[in-house]
C-alpha cells in the first residue's frame, strides 16, 4: 500500500515529465548521450562580433529558430521546447495542462537591435525623446511584448493551457530550482494536483556577456572553449555564460498513480536561505549555503547519510567552488570524501535562470539511468578542494537520492533533494 503523504503529512510530489534543451542539443536523449560521454557544449561565440570582448566563448543555444531573434523570443522557444517534451512524456493533454505555471526567466529588456531600429527610423530629436516618440507611433505590439516581464509566461500559459495567473520569477542563478520549489509547494498546499515548472534562459546578448565580464565573473580561457569550464580545478577562472531550459511536470504521487502515469522520480525536499553578506559574493564561512542544504535535507526527511550524490552548483568560479566545498564538507563531514559530487556546468556552462531546472532534470536522469555524469576538464585538481568530482568520465552507480545545489547572485540559495522512489 503506497503511502501518499510524506513525513510531515504533505502530499508526496512526483515527477512525471522531464524536458531539457542545452548547447548539447534538444531533448533528454541527445543531452544525456553527450553529458555521459563528457562532451562539452561550449564553443566560440558566433551570434555577435567579439571585437573588444575579453570573453569570446559561451554555451549559447544557436540551433533554434529564435536563436538570432533576441532574448525574449529565444527564452520563449527554449521554455516551450522543454515544456513540450515534459508534458508529452507525462501523457497529459498538451493544450490543457490543468495546473499552474511557474517560469524562471531572465529579466527582460528592449533588445539593442530593436533600439537601433526604432531610433534610426526617424531623425527628429535625440536619445530617449526620439525613442518615446517613435514608440507611440508603433502599430504592432511585438516589440512592446518583449519588454513586459509577464509576457513569456502569458504565451506559455496560452500554449499549454495552464491554470490561473502564471508566476514569472527570478532568484538569479537559483531561479530554475525556485520554479520547481514553487510547484512543489503549491501541490503540498493542496492548491493543485499538478504544476508545470520551467527554467529557461536565452538572454546571452553582448550586453549580458559584458555585464558579467565587468564583474570579473567569466572565464577568459578562450583558446580551447570546451576546456574553459573547470569546476573545482586549481586554475578555474570564472563561469561560462550559457543558455538552456529545463521543465518538469510535477504531480502529487497519488494523482500520478491514479491515472497510471510513470513516476520518473520524487521531489523529496526543498530548502532555502538568503545570504546578507554581499551582492555577488557568498559569506565566506558558507553558513547560508550550509543552512540551505540542511533545510533541504530536513524538508526531505532525510539524514545527511542518505544522500548518494550531489549535483553541484559548481560554476568554476574561484569563489563558489571553494565555498561549496566548505559547505558540503561541513554538512556531510568525513563522508564527503567518498560522496560523488559532479558539476554539469563543466559541460553545459552556467545556464543562469535555467540552471536549477536543467540540473534537476539531469539529477533525475542520473537516478533513472544509474549513471553519474562527470566533471570534465578536471586536469589540475585544486589541492584545497578534496572531493570526488567524478573526474572526466561518467560512472555507473546506483543513485537513490540526489542533492542539487543552486547558489545565486544577490544571495539567494536553493537546494533540492530528489529521490528515485517515494520511500
Amino acid at each position: 500500500m503506497t503511502n501518499f503523504r510524506d513525513h510531515m503529512g504533505r502530499p508526496i510530489v512526483a515527477v512525471t515529465g522531464i524536458g531539457v534543451v542545452t548547447s548539447l542539443g534538444v531533448g533528454k536523449a541527445d543531452n544525456w548521450a553527450a553529458l555521459t560521454s563528457g562532451k562539452s557544449g561550449i564553443h566560440p561565440i558566433t551570434r555577435f562580433p567579439v571585437d573588444h570582448l575579453n570573453t569570446r566563448i559561451s554555451g549559447m543555444v544557436d540551433f533554434l529558430d529564435s536563436s538570432a531573434k533576441g532574448a525574449s523570443p529565444l527564452t520563449y522557444e527554449l521554455a516551450e521546447t522543454a515544456a513540450h517534451e515534459a508534458v508529452a512524456e507525462s501523457g497529459l493533454d498538451s493544450s490543457d495542462f490543468g495546473g499552474p505555471l511557474f517560469l524562471a526567466s531572465p529579466p527582460v529588456e528592449l533588445d539593442w537591435h530593436e533600439r537601433f531600429s526604432l531610433y534610426n527610423s526617424d531623425k527628429q530629436d535625440a536619445g530617449a525623446e526620439r525613442l518615446l516618440r517613435v514608440a507611440r507611433g508603433l502599430k504592432e505590439l511585438d516589440i512592446f511584448e518583449t519588454t513586459q516581464f509577464g509576457s513569456i509566461a502569458d504565451r506559455l500559459a496560452d500554449r499549454f493551457g495552464t491554470r490561473g495567473l502564471p508566476i514569472t520569477l527570478s532568484t538569479a542563478c537559483a531561479s530554475g530550482a525556485t520554479a520547481i520549489q514553487l510547484g512543489v509547494e503549491a501541490i503540498r498546499r493542496g492548491e493543485c494536483d499538478r504544476a508545470l515548472s520551467i527554467g529557461a534562459d536565452g538572454s546571452a546578448t553582448a550586453e549580458a556577456l559584458i555585464r558579467f565580464s565587468l564583474l570579473s565573473a567569466l572565464s577568459t580561457h578562450n583558446d580551447i572553449p570546451e576546456k574553459a569550464s573547470k569546476p573545482f580545478s586549481k586554475d578555474r577562472d570564472g563561469f561560462v555564460l550559457a543558455e538552456g531550459s529545463g521543465a518538469l511536470v510535477l504531480e502529487s504521487l497519488e494523482a500520478a498513480l491514479a491515472r497510471g502515469a510513470t513516476v520518473l522520480g520524487i521531489l523529496r525536499g526543498c530548502g532555502e536561505k538568503a545570504d546578507d553578506f554581499h551582492r555577488t559574493r557568498s559569506k565566506p564561512d558558507g553558513s547560508p549555503a550550509i543552512a540551505a542544504v540542511r533545510a533541504a535535507l530536513a524538508d526531505a526527511g532525510l539524514s545527511k547519510d542518505e544522500i548518494d550524490y550531489v549535483n553541484a552548483h559548481g560554476t568554476s568560479t574561484p569563489e563558489n567552488d571553494k565555498m561549496e566545498h566548505l559547505s558540503l564538507s561541513t554538512v556531510f563531514g568525513e563522508r564527503i570524501g567518498s560522496m560523488p559530487v559532479s558539476s554539469n556546468k563543466s559541460m553545459i556552462g552556467h545556464t543562469l535562470s535555467a540552471a536549477g531546472a536543467v540540473e534537476a532534470a539531469f539529477s533525475l536522469m542520473t537516478m533513472r539511468e544509474s549513471v553519474i555524469p562527470p566533471t570534465i576538464n578536471y586536469d589540475n585538481p585544486d589541492p584545497a578542494i578534496v572531493l570526488d568530482v567524478v573526474p572526466n568520465k561518467k560512472r555507473n552507480a546506483e543513485v537513490r537520492s540526489v542533492l542539487s545545489n543552486s547558489f545565486g547572485f544577490g544571495g539567494q540559495n536553493t537546494c533540492l533533494v530528489m529521490a528515485r522512489e517515494p520511500v
Partner: protein, 396 residues
Amino acid sequence: MSSPRDVVITGIGLVSSLGEGPDAHWQKLAQPGLQPVLEAARFAPYTVHPLPEIDWNLQIAKRGDQRQMETWQRLGTYAAGLALDDAGIKGNDELCATMDMVVAAGGGERDEAVDAAILAASESRNDRDVLLNEKLTTELRPTLFLAQLSNLLAGNISIVHKVTGSSRTFMGEEGAGVSAVETAAARIRSGQSTHVLVGGAFQTEHSDMLLGYELAGYLHRGPWKPVWQRQGAEGGGVVSGSGGAFLVLEQREHAESRGRKIYAELGPVVSGRARRSRGELDAEIAGLLSQAALPNGKLLALSGASGAHAATSAEKTALDADGTIAARGFSTLTGHMKEAQFPFAVALAALAVDRKAAYPVFDAAAEKPFEGIPASVLATAIGYHQFEGMALVKSA
C-alpha cells in the same frame, strides 16, 4: 471565526508622491479634495507623479550600500525598512533571520547617457554590433548591472535589513504584486511561514520605464485627468507614479504572541489571467469579485486601476454594476506604480479598516461617497495590459 493561521497585516511601509509612511498617507488621503503632486515638464508630453525628497540614510544607513543601488532599489529597500520598523521587526535579529520575503520587481535603471551616446553614434555606423561592444565595455559602471537585476532588490533588503529566510522575486508588472501577496498569504495559512515581508517598488522617472508603457501607446497625454476620466483623451490613459509598498504579513498567533498591533486581516486573495484579446476581461473581473467572498452590504474598494482605457473601463463598469461598491481609484493621487500597485492597494485598504473610516471620494464626478465604518475593504489590481487580482481586507 478567527484562526491562529489567519493572515494579519502588522506592518506597512509606503512611499509615493504623497509622502512616506502609513500615517502620512492616511492624513493626506483622508482630506477631501486632495490634489495630486504632478510633474508635467520633465517628461513632457507625459505627466508623472514624482518621488518626494527622501533621506535614504533613514533606512539605508551605509553610504556604501546606497551607492550600489539606483533609485528603484533604494526606493524598495527604503519602503521595506519602513514596513519592518512599523511591525517592530527591524533590528530584531531572530525575527529577521527567520523572515521570508516575496518581492515584486521589474528591472533597474539603464544608464541613459551611455545609451544616448550609443544611439547617436549608431546613426553613422553600420557596424552597430561592434559599436555596442566598444561602448558597453568601456562606458558601463561595472556594478550598474547589480542595480538593474530584478532579484537584487530582494538581495539588498537581505543585506541592509538582514531579512534572510526564504527570498523570492516575482516579475510581471501588477500581476507580480498580486502573486507575491497571494503566495505570501498561502505560505502563512499553510504554516510554512510565520511572518513574511511582501511588496514592491516602481521608479517611473526614467525614459526606459516610460518606454515600457509607451511601446504600446499606454501613456496618457494632454492635460491631466483623474484615473476614471481618461477615456477619449489623447494617448492610452496611464499616468505613472514612483512609489513603493511593503507589507508585513504574519500568522495571527505569531503576531498576538509578540503583542503586535494588527491593522487588519488579509482575507481571500484571488487572481487570474483573462485572455483579453478573446474578450474575456469582463467575465474575469466578475469571476474574481465573486471569488473574493464579498460581504453583504456596501463595500469600499481601493482600486489599483491604471487608467489604461480598456482595462479601467471594464473595471469601472464591473464595480459600478455591483451597486454596493464605492470605488476609490487611488492612482488619481499616486499614479500607476506597476509592481507596487497591488501591495499599495492592500495597504490602503488595511488603513481604512484600521482607522474605521473610508477615504473621501478621490474624484467627485466618478466616485460614490461611503458613510460609516468599512469593516471589510476590497483591494484590486486589474493590469493595464495583462493579469488581474483582488483581495478582501477585513477587520482583525
